[in-house]
């Protein structure tokens, strides 16, 4: 395309767009903002985000959290030094024994799927995959058509 034409077009469009005045914001907008601010101001400080807490409260909460973390670490370490920890771990292991059964079932299902694939052969599987792809494409196409029909500019 002619570079002079492009430059002229850019300048012309720029002129038209920059000449546009600002759009007028709805009159209720300022009231909406003020109402939201007032609503936020009514919320007690402890229910607001942590960044907006008073500095003293931020410092206090930080100290409490650090103390809690330290206590947990110390408690965990002391627990590991006693025999009760081994007993507790054994009990936790029992709770999760059900998971191994789920794992075994999954393994059996995978083995069955591999067996089916071997029996059917690649031709049948490829055909199934192609059919699934066509079905998916049809869904997207029909969805697009319906969307265009539903939201068509009238």
């Amino acid at each position: 395309m002619n570079p002079d034409y492009n430059k002229q077009l850019e300048a012309a469009i720029s002129r038209e767009l920059k000449a546009l005045p600002e759009l007028t914001a709805p009159a209720v907008l300022a009231n909406r903002v003020m109402a939201t601010l007032e609503q936020r101001a009514r919320v007690p400080w402890y229910r607001r985000s942590w960044q907006t807490w008073p500095v003293a409260m931020q410092a206090a909460s930080l100290v409490v959290l650090l103390a809690l973390f330290g206590g947990l670490c110390l408690g965990g370490w002391q627990l590991s030094q006693t025999g009760t920890a081994t007993l507790a771990l054994h009990r936790v292991g029992e709770w999760f024994s059900g998971l191994s059964m789920i794992g075994n079932t999954f393994n059996v299902l995978v083995s069955a799927a591999v067996l089916v694939v071997k029996k059917l052969g690649t031709g049948v599987i490829a055909t199934c995959l192609v059919a699934a792809g066509i079905g998916y494409a049809m869904c997207v196409g029909l969805g697009t058509v319906y969307f265009r029909l539903a939201f068509a500019k009238r």
């Binding site: 002619n2 002079d4 034409y5 492009n6 002229q8 077009l9 850019e10 012309a12 469009i13 720029s14 038209e16 767009l17 920059k18 000449a19 546009l20 005045p21 600002e22 759009l23 007028t24 914001a25 709805p26 907008l29 300022a30 909406r32 903002v33 939201t36 601010l37 907006t52 969805g143 697009t144 969307f147 265009r148 939201f151 500019k153």
Partner: protein, 177 residues
Amino acid sequence: MRNYQNMVFSTAMRLLTNQSEAEDVTQEVFLRAYERFGELQGSPTVGGWLKTVATNLSLNHLSRYRSRWTFFSEIFTGDPDADGEPEMEFADESNAGEELEARDRHAVVEQALQKLPTAQRVPLVLYHLEGLRYEEIAGKLGVSLGKVKTDISRGREALRKKLRLTLELENNLTGNA
């Protein structure tokens, strides 16, 4: 707030083309400004800050809430001018005065801009109204530089057709032929 609300609303409206979404974005911009009231109060850059936040929030809004609909709405969109709407009779610089007696020039340009597909309108607004460079637009929209240039070029051409802008060069070429 009243000094800047039209500017912020215009920025959001031209990017989103949806009144209620633009109002939500404008509200969010001023709520964020209030959180930084201490920094912004009396600052000479407050206008620029508000505009940047409005632009970023509008683009976030577009990418977050509209991506799935954009896919459907633009997938089969060919020529944006082929929407069955009559072209707007205006903007031939020589007889613009006559046309303007019947129609508000700015309203027509605004309407033409809003009817552009999002993929063309957004980079066009960012370039011409927000003063961003091609590279900045590509970065903000997460698309290639080439796509930005192509979309802006197509957007300009679509606007030219919609507004029937007559360029001097075209006149010269026509005259020479």
